[in-house]
């Protein structure tokens, strides 16, 4: 017997926690499914297992997650942890694997609060053991208190500085920042600082300033205008070389944290056939949504970074907005109630996103990351290089989906999650077309590995 809900929320990050609590508070029968053992998503990971020392290390932004997790625990929704969602249908069916058993549930409305993933950073040597994403290093710090004894943080994005700050706060100042943001973008970004910044924007700018100040005080070396990044080694990382300005450098290394910003997790919305849009400022695909987060399918809603990168605080409010619209569609609240409850969330969303144009420009990924040199591996699973993608494109391959047939690109275990954005960019470059014209990999269930035994045991 399939359990039927009013709403199923996928993901217990800021958007999912907020949406789930609001839905349940207004009496909607709600199920929240999450892949992790405890709430928080990536940003507030293991928030409930925090000691005072950990909260000090991770800072006030992290502490914010406590009230969201608390609201979730106080609410009447059903919350299933360690649940890997491996299929969703446009009709509202959801299949999830939990403790070695798959279950089938269904709902009138689904909120995908599946957040962001890190933009791939294909540089020479990025497949070597010892190379992780900066996000991965932050997860190790948040979840396990595990830190590298000496790390190069390379790429472009505020996370590089935030992570460095957290490492310093944790008493681990042995790190080097290689900032690959271009001088042109740094300069252009200054014009995008809001002319009359609201308090929230000022807070974000002050936070950035505080990172720089603390890192300078700790003596953390910061190389700027870094390009030509190469990670060297045979079986693991041994050295890193790069240009900074017009100087060359080569330094011994064992751990590298790469980062080039985050992009929406579009794997599931694409599989559902949700209409996609191209976000020029953030250089990524995102599902097309209306002002409530509803996708091109009227019962599929997308809240938070999964609908376009807006950050943790705005995502929380986007979660409330999606929940209010669903409550309205379920006829639990009338239009006037929906709109009056939504108003403060809209104002907060606007306040928290006012600084985005500055951040998007300041930390825009450089060309060598978006369209790597021919010898760089692009598809980590099937070990396919940028040169191979360009070659098949020149030979007539029209797009990412045909590249699967030519090369098996995107057909390994990650199902194209990592190489997808790069393959689209390379195809767009060769064919002189826009990313939207080229399109992205078609995705299909199962989204996660599931055993044949589990499939057979389904009702």
């Amino acid at each position: 017997m399939t359990t039927q809900y009013d709403a199923i929320v996928i993901g217990a990050g800021p958007a999912g926690m907020a949406a789930g609590a609001t839905l349940a508070q207004h009496g909607a029968r709600t199920l929240l499914l999450d892949e992790q053992p405890s709430p928080g998503g990536q940003i507030y990971r293991t928030i409930e297992e925090s000691t005072p020392a950990k909260l000090r290390t991770l800072g006030a932004d992290y502490v914010r997650g406590l009230h969201l997790a608390h609201a979730l625990r106080q609410s009447s929704l059903e919350y299933l942890t360690n649940a890997a969602v491996w299929n969703i249908t446009a009709a509202g069916d959801v299949y999830a694997s939990h403790a070695g058993r798959s279950r089938h549930v269904a709902a009138q409305h689904i909120i995908l609060a599946i957040g962001a993933m890190e933009r791939p950073v294909p540089v020479p040597g990025w497949t070597l053991p010892g190379v992780l994403t900066a996000g991965a290093l932050q997860i190790l710090l948040k979840s396990s208190g595990v830190v590298s004894t000496g790390v190069f943080l390379a790429g472009a994005g505020p996370l590089l500085y935030q992570l460095a700050y957290q490492y310093v706060a944790a008493g681990m100042p042995r790190l080097v920042i290689l900032d690959m943001a271009t001088r042109a973008n740094t300069r252009a970004s200054l014009l995008k600082i809001p002319a009359a910044p609201n308090l929230t924007s000022l807070h974000y700018l002050w936070k950035g300033f505080r990172f720089f100040e603390r890192l300078a005080r700790a003596g953390v070396p910061i190389y700027r205008n870094v390009s030509n990044l190469v990670i060297e080694g045979t079986d693991k990382v041994e050295a890193i070389s790069f240009r900074h300005g017009n100087k060359e450098a080569r330094l011994p290394a064992h751990t590298i944290g790469l980062h080039a910003g985050v992009i929406p997790n579009t794997h599931i919305p694409r599989a559902l056939g949700c209409a996609m849009a191209w976000d020029e400022a953030q250089h990524c695909f995102r599902p097309a949504t209306d002002k409530w987060g509803s996708s091109s399918h009227r019962n599929i809603h997308i809240a938070g970074d999964g609908a376009g990168i807006i950050g943790a605080r705005a995502s929380e409010h986007a979660g409330h907005l999606a929940a209010l619209q669903i409550l309205h569609l379920l006829e639990r609240i009338d239009t006037a109630t929906r709109d009056s409850l939504a108003a403060p969330h809209r104002r907060a969303c606007a306040a928290h996103t006012a600084i985005r144009p500055f951040l998007d420009q300041r930390f825009a990924p450089p060309g060598e990351i978006l369209r790597p040199a021919d010898d760089v591996t692009v598809c980590r699973c099937e070990e396919i290089t940028a040169g191979q993608i360009r070659d098949v494109a020149r030979a007539g391959c029209q797009g990412p989906n045909q590249a699967k047939a030519y090369l098996r690109a995107g057909m390994g275990p990650c199902q194209g999650r990592v190489c997808g954005p790069v393959v689209t960019d390379l195809m767009a470059e060769v064919h002189q077309k826009s990313a939207l014209e080229i399109g992205a990999y078609r995705t299909r269930p199962p989204f996660k590995p599931v055993t044949v035994g589990e499939l057979a045991a389904l009702d």
């Binding site: 993933m117 070597l128 190379v131 208190g145 830190v147 751990t255 999650r417």
Partner: protein, 95 residues
């Protein structure tokens, strides 16, 4: 090369390639392996190249390992349990 900032927490014993390692309760398998100094957790099926956990958030699948006999487990999404037997996933395709 990784270390723990508060090494005092409760320990969980498990094995990797039949070698004993200790982890902390609440670790993912991937975090436990990295903290134990293990830098090679998988061989790729195409080039037989060594790999290790990369994204730790379930996206990249580079941390696939064999856990208690079941291959293709995402180490970054699997919490450690006492006595877990973890093996390197060897991905070479059959000829």
């Amino acid at each position: 090369m990784f270390l723990r900032i508060n090494p005092g927490a409760a320990t969980v014993r498990l094995t990797f390639e039949d070698q004993d390692i200790t982890a902390t309760e609440g670790d993912s398998v991937a975090a436990a392996l990295l903290a134990a100094g293990i830098t090679h957790t998988r061989d790729t099926p195409v080039g037989d190249a060594p790999r290790a956990p990369f994204c730790l958030m379930g996206t990249c699948f580079d941390c696939l390992v064999e856990i208690d006999g079941t291959p293709n487990r995402q180490a970054c999404l699997t919490p450690v349990r006492p006595g877990m037997r973890i093996c390197r996933q060897r991905g070479a395709r059959s000829p």
